[in-house]
Point group: C3
Chain length 156, copies 3
């Protein structure tokens, strides 16, 4: 790639990482409408093994309901990997440590991985698809969460 | 912005992130003097709801006293957001998972957010202001910590 | 440095961070062969105070044995600091929160720091040396882990 293209890609990467951070910030401030603005209108999101949430309207309702179960949450991203498919779309993965305190005072922590597709829109980079996979959970039955797909390798 | 300006801003961003990392490294090595060098001389820092620490001298003493309570700490940053106000100043936010083991062996974990102002000095980017807000805490009364300001939204 | 050199260094930084993320992803998916591909053939790796693992072949075996102890792991990086020694080598540090669930269901969490040396190869940036240091651990005797080297400063 030419130097201007390489620079542009670093800037795109930076913009996507800023949107990833905004997602977590809005979650932890309990602002589901703002959190959903990170997504395109016709987004697809999967937080549970049972299926996909389709569209930003349904997503706002799902986020509102989910966040209302908690008095506190803290989402913390790491290990961000972004692979551009072309100038206007990218796949991405990241890991999340998400600590939750329920309104009854009990806690649970998710060790998760987001598997994303991002696209460039007129408003900037937005999430077209996000799938959560759980490496594990403490304080909650991980069977309720989509699995990470860790290899099982028996030692012989 | 021109390409040289865009490149410069990516480099500035990188320098600020390096200083953020140095802050945590010096904290976990219990080096309060080095940790305070991340700040400008006339910095303002807020770790407690009761008020601001003003100036690097007072900050060194506050850090020394705070770190001496622990045999181990581990500060872990994520979700870094940096917004430039001009070529020489920026606001920034980041989240921190800070695990602490007190000298009596007990532990607590902070799920926090730093709200910063950074300025460019002759020595490079330095922290002019840092305010800690707590999303929550485990093993410590979160009422002793400045709150994050999470929205309370009752479901109807 | 010239603008092309500065841009090149930002891209190198990005490539190293991507390899750091791949290391954690392959660990959590229990793919020791893929995880070891992040390293050069004649790498040196230290996870225990007792000594160094030398060479990628020995590393694959060590990773396979270590990962087989767990049903789940989640490695989460932060505070990445990369310092270039020249165009083709760099030292780096990062912190890791590594949560582990053993096959017996018990858990432990590492609060660690990786101290690395990276070199540019024909295949891209690879790890020549990685040393783990532990800020602390929960659910495991930290005496089994290489210490971070926190200063002990008695208050007078």
């Amino acid at each position: 790639m030419s130097e201007p293209s390489l620079l542009r890609q670093l800037l795109d990467r930076q913009e996507i990482m800023a949107m990833m951070a905004a997602y977590t910030r809005c979650a932890d401030l309990n602002r589901p409408e703002q959190q959903a603005e990170v997504f395109v209108q016709d987004c697809r999101v999967k937080y549970h093994p049972t299926g996909w949430i389709v569209g930003r309207g349904a997503l706002v309702e799902a986020l509102r309901t989910a966040l209302a179960r908690y008095s506190n949450t803290s989402h913390h991203l790491g290990n961000i990997e972004i692979d551009f498919e072309g100038p206007d779309s990218a796949t991405a993965q990241s890991t999340v440590i998400a600590w939750h305190r329920r309104t009854d005072g009990s806690e649970w922590t998710l060790y998760g991985r987001y598997v994303d597709r991002w696209i460039r829109t007129e408003q900037g980079w937005r999430l077209a698809e996000r799938e959560l996979r759980a490496a594990g959970a403490v304080g909650r039955d991980a069977g309720q969460l989509p699995p990470l797909g860790r290899a099982f390798v028996a030692l012989t």
